[in-house]
Amino acid sequence: MNLAVNASSLVQFISQPWHWAVSGAAIALVLALMTWMGRSFGVSTTFKAFCSAAGAGKVSDFFKMDVKEEFWRIAFVIGGLIGGYIATNFLQSPEPVAISPETIDYLATIGINYPEADAKGIGFVPTSLLNFESLSGILMAVGGGFLVGFGARYGDGCTSGHAISGLAHFQLPSLITVIGFFIGGLAMTHFIFPFLVG
């Protein structure tokens, strides 16, 4: 009985939004575990594996690879998917993501009402913008995804590979890539995005 009460208060405790320091330490732990298991911490190569599995090796040698060698990575992202399911269904915070009032006010000026922009109201994805229901929603989702996939492969890594692993190994190419992430991100957020939704 007592144990059950303790378990439910533990779930409540974990369900609060996590402090940035706890979150950062947990990500460092993932990096350390992956390294200890003899693999790198990189997610975007899964897209390359999908291309290869679909037969892209016939049109470009770049996709000639042994997909079986990537099963560990695919297992990792399937785990990520399950983790997202667990967090959202069993460990959900009682309040939507507490972004700053400045961001909320700004978003209102471009017609995005937080957190109603999110169909679930938890502040994860503005489904009023990215959705299957409108042509603009579909184009934004596919186009944005396209840029992420193209840029990650051209740069040989995404946020996990460069911003976390690469920087943790003091790699100059990773630092320059991360500077690029910010050049693109700032340009999108400040100049292109307001134009797209305006």
Binding site: W20, S23, G24, A25, V30, L31, A32, T35, W36, G38, S44, F47, C51, W72, R73, A75, V77, I78, G79, G80, L81, I82, G84, Y85, A87, T88, I99, S100, T103, K120, G123, F124, P126, L130, F132, V142, G144, F146, L147, V148, G149, F150, G151, A152, G155, D156, C158, H162, A163, S165, L167, A168, H169, T177, G180, F182, G184, L186, A187, M188
Partner: protein, 137 residues
């Protein structure tokens, strides 16, 4: 069996990404508007503690479970390539509000729109494979 351990680390990763709110489009937008320290705190802490643990693993010449030494395959330095690739990635990251890891996590969270974003990312990867010979490397 080995893949099951990666599945387990992945589950932990998914919970961390969701509970840290790093999967939130709004957190990414806020980060690029410099209106909160949250994302910088997460990435900064992860890099500092990650660097410390990588340093320790190299210093103690720890062998991994696959019997290898801890290291990093360095990329050839090509500033034009890194900046261009990073910028393309960043444009997409700020638009869809998620990088590749969170795409999977958010799909698990029930955001089916991630299927389109993941399809777009795979298409982008495929397109890179077709045009890579025309790009600076």
């Amino acid at each position: 069996m080995k893949n099951l351990s990666f599945l387990a680390v992945g589950i932990f990763f998914g919970i961390v990404m969701a509970k840290s709110e790093a999967v939130s489009w709004f957190r990414i937008h806020e980060m690029f508007r410099f209106e909160s320290f949250h994302m910088y705190g997460i990435i900064g802490t992860a890099v500092v503690l990650g660097a410390a643990s990588m340093w320790l693993m190299k210093k103690t010449k720890m062998t991994t479970l696959r019997g290898t030494l801890v290291g990093y395959n360095p990329m050839n330095l090509n500033i034009k390539r890194h900046l261009l690739a990073g910028t393309i990635f960043g444009l997409g990251w700020a638009l869809v509000g998620c990088c590749p890891g969170p795409m999977y996590v958010l799909l698990g969270s029930g955001y089916t729109i991630m299927l389109l974003i993941l399809a777009g990312a795979t298409l982008g990867t495929f397109t890179y494979g077709l045009v890579m010979k025309y790009l600076p490397h």
